[in-house]
Amino acid sequence: MSTQTTVIEAGSKSTSAVMREVWAYRDLFMFLTLRDIKVIYKQTVLGFLWAFIQPFFSVVVFTFVFGHMAKVPSDGQPYAIFSIVAVVPWTFISSSISASGQSLVSNLNMISKVYFPRIIIPFVPVTAKMVDFGISLILIVAGMLYFGINPGWSILYLPIMILLMYLTAAAFGVWITAFAIQYRDVKFIIGFLVHLLMYAAPVVWPASLVKETYPVLWPWYGLYPIAGAIDGIRSVLLGSTINWDLIGLSALSTSLLLTSGIMYFMKRERYFADVA
C-alpha cells in the first residue's frame, strides 16, 4: 500500500504540485503527441508530403507576387530562398496556432471524463507539428544547395532559434487553448489572426525594412515574439547579420507571454469541465 494521498479542495494548486503531476503524466504527453502525429496524415494519398507541399506553394506564390511583381527587397538574396527560410518556420507557427484552437474539440471528451494535468493539452499539437517542421527542413536544405548559400558558422545558432520558435508557438497555443474552452469566439478569430500575425512578422519582407521605414519603432519591434523567431532563423540560415537586439527582446517577450499564459491556464483549468 502506497502512502500517496490525493487532496481535493477548492482553489488552485501550487505550481510545484502541478509540475510533479506533469512529470508523472509524461508518458501520456508522449502518447498524445504520437497520436497527433500518426493521425494527421491517415487516409491521405500524399501523407507526409503535405508537410512539404504547403510551404512549397506558399513560397512559389510569394516569390511571384512579392518578389517579382511587388519587388519587395530581400536583403540581396534571391527572393525564393529568402522566402523559404521564413515560410517554413512560419508554417510551423501558424499550423500550431490553428491546431491549438482545435485541441479543445479533439480533447473535450477526455477533459470531461478523466483527470490528467490539463496543461499538457496545448503543448501536444505544438510538439506534434515539430515533426512536420523537421520534414520541411529538407525544403530549406534543397533551396540552400540550389542557390549555393553558405551560412557559415552562424548555423550553429540554429537550435537556439528553433527553440525560440517552439516556445513562441507554445506561448500562443497556451493562450488560445485557455480561451477556446470558455469562449467559442476563438474559432472565428484564428483564421484572420493568423493572417495578421504573418504580415506583422518579417515573413514576406525583411526585418531591415522596419529599421529603414520606422526607425523609431525598430527598438521595440522585438516585443512582437514572432518577429525574433522568424528573423533569427532566417539570418542564421542565410548567414546574414544576426539582429541580436531584436531576437533578445523577442526571447524576453516570448517568455513573458508563455509564463503569463501558463499562469492563466492553471487558474482556469479546474473549471474546464464545467464550462466546456
Binding site: 500517496q4 479542495e9 497520436r35 493521425v39 479546474r270
Partner: protein, 421 residues
C-alpha cells in the same frame, strides 16, 4: 481510504433573459449583446454573494468516510448529485467548498475507452487509453499481453479501431480498464452498459477488485447491482446525504420513499426542442386499447410510446426495463433482434407498441423505465418510473399455485408437462 468533509459544489444556472419590446430596444440589446455574453460566460465560473437565485447547489455539505477495503454504493434520483459527486471525487471538477482526501493510488472510471482514436490501431489505443487512465508506459508494457488476451481481439491488434465492431472496441476498452491496479476505484454505472455477457464480466471483475481489499465507490441507478456488490450504501437527495447505512436498509427505504401512492397508466413529458429525439408520452393499454393499470395475470399487456424525431438520426433505439421490488426483471430494446442497427430516422412523430406476453408477470407492482439512446454510445433520455401498474391473480386464483406471489420464483411461465405411464 476516502474522507469527504463538508463537500459542496455550486453551478450557475441561466439567468433570466429580458425580452425587447420595441425595435429600438431590440437593436439596443443586439448591440450590447457581446457585453452581456461576456458577463454570462465569465459568470459560469465566478460566484458573487448577491445572486443566490441563479446558483444551483449540486452538492451541499456532504461528509462521509470510506474505510480501506470497503465497497460503497451511491444512489439517488436523477439530479440528486450523484454525477457531481463522482466528478468531484474524480478531480474532473473542483468543489466549491470542503475537502476530500483519498489515500492510495486512485483510478476513476466514468466511461471505458476514453480517448480511443478510431484511426489508431488496437495496440496504439491500449497505450493511449492506459496512460490516460494514469498508467505509466512501463506498466502497460508489462500488462500488454494480458490485456490483449482478456479482450480476445489478438488477431486485430494492429488494425485501426474504426474497423472493429462496436462489441470489439468495448471489449478492448474494458480490458484496459480492468487491468488498472488502483487501491481506490471510483466507478460510474456506465460500466454496466453493453450486452449481458459484458455486464457479467464487469460485475465479476468488480467483485474481484472488491475482494482484493480495494476500496471501491460505485455510483449507480441499478439498485440490484448496488445491493449485490456493496455492503454499505449512501443515498443522496437534492445534493444532500439523506441516508448512509447497510445497503438493504438504505435501498428499501429509498424504494418506499420513491414509490408513488398509486399506479400510473400514462405519462407525458414536456417537449424539449433541443433534443434530436425524445420520448414525449407513454401508456399501458389492455387488450381493447384502453388505458389500464390493473391486470390479471392472463391479460395481455400492451405498452405504447410516442416519440418525436426532430432531426435526422442514425441508429437510435428505444428500450424499456421492467422493475419489480427494485430489481430489473428484464429489459427490452427495439434493436434486440437486429444485428445491424443503422436505420436512419427522418424527422416526424413515431409510435411504438410493445406486447408483453402472458402469463409472465407474477402478481405485484411493476415499474417501467423508458430510455432512448444509441446502443453502446450514448444515452439520450431516461425516464424513471414512467409507468406503474399492478398485476393480480383474479381469474384463476389458487388453481395454479406456482404463479401466486408468495411462491418462490420471480416470473410466471407456463411450462408444458408431459407424462408417460
Amino acid at each position: 481510504m476516502i474522507r469527504v468533509e463538508n463537500l459542496s459544489k455550486q453551478y450557475r444556472i441561466g439567468a433570466k433573459v429580458e425580452r425587447a419590446r420595441t425595435l429600438s430596444e431590440a437593436v439596443g440589446s443586439f448591440l450590447t449583446s457581446p457585453l452581456r455574453n461576456l458577463r454570462r460566460l465569465q459568470g459560469l465560473t465566478s460566484f458573487r454573494e448577491d445572486d443566490e437565485e441563479n446558483v444551483l447547489w449540486a452538492l451541499k455539505d456532504i461528509s462521509f468516510e470510506v474505510n480501506q477495503g470497503e465497497v460503497v454504493g451511491i444512489i439517488g434520483r436523477n439530479g440528486a448529485g450523484k454525477s457531481t459527486l463522482l466528478k468531484v471525487l474524480s478531480r474532473i471538477t473542483p468543489p466549491s467548498h470542503g475537502r476530500v482526501s483519498i489515500g492510495g493510488r486512485v483510478s476513476s472510471l466514468l466511461e471505458v475507452g476514453t480517448g480511443f482514436h478510431p484511426e489508431l490501431s488496437g495496440r496504439e489505443n491500449i497505450y493511449l487509453n492506459g496512460t490516460i487512465l494514469g498508467m505509466r508506459k512501463a506498466e502497460v508494457d508489462r500488462k500488454f499481453d494480458e490485456i490483449v488476451d482478456f479482450s480476445g481481439v489478438e488477431k486485430f491488434i494492429d488494425t485501426p479501431v474504426k474497423r472493429y465492431s462496436s462489441g470489439m472496441s468495448v471489449r478492448l476498452a474494458f480490458s484496459v480498464a480492468a487491468h488498472l491496479e488502483p487501491e481506490v476505484l471510483i466507478v460510474d454505472e456506465v460500466l454496466a452498459v453493453g450486452d449481458m455477457a459484458f455486464q457479467k464480466k464487469c460485475l465479476g471483475k468488480m467483485e474481484t477488485v472488491a475482494g482484493e481489499g480495494r476500496t471501491v465507490v460505485i455510483v449507480s441507478h441499478q439498485l440490484d447491482m448496488v445491493r449485490n456488490l456493496c455492503k454499505r450504501t449512501i443515498l443522496l437527495e437534492d445534493g444532500k446525504k439523506m441516508l448512509d447505512g447497510a445497503s438493504a436498509d438504505v435501498i428499501d427505504s429509498y424504494l418506499n420513499s420513491a414509490i408513488p401512492e398509486g399506479v400510473k397508466p400514462l405519462f407525458e413529458v414536456e417537449e424539449d426542442s433541443e433534443m434530436d429525439i425524445q420520448i414525449v408520452a407513454g401508456r399501458v393499454l389492455d387488450a381493447e386499447g384502453n388505458l389500464c393499470a390493473n391486470f390479471d395475470i392472463y391479460d395481455k399487456i400492451t405498452l405504447e410510446i410516442d416519440y418525436h424525431v426532430r432531426s435526422k438520426i442514425i441508429g437510435p433505439t428505444l428500450g424499456f426495463e421492467v422493475y419489480s421490488g427494485g430489481v430489473v426483471l428484464f429489459a427490452s430494446f427495439q434493436s434486440d433482434e437486429q444485428s445491424n442497427n443503422s436505420h436512419q430516422y427522418d424527422p416526424g412523430s413515431y409510435r411504438c407498441r410493445m406486447r408483453i406476453p402472458s402469463p409472465l408477470l407474477k402478481p405485484g407492482r411493476y415499474y417501467l423505465v423508458f430510455s432512448i439512446g444509441v446502443p453502446r454510445r450514448m444515452s439520450l433520455q431516461r425516464i424513471e418510473q414512467a409507468l406503474i401498474f399492478d398485476v393480480e391473480m383474479i381469474t384463476k386464483a389458487g388453481a395454479y399455485l406456482s404463479y401466486s406471489a408468495d411462491r418462490p420464483g420471480t416470473i410466471a411461465v407456463p411450462i408444458v408437462w408431459e407424462q408417460w405411464p
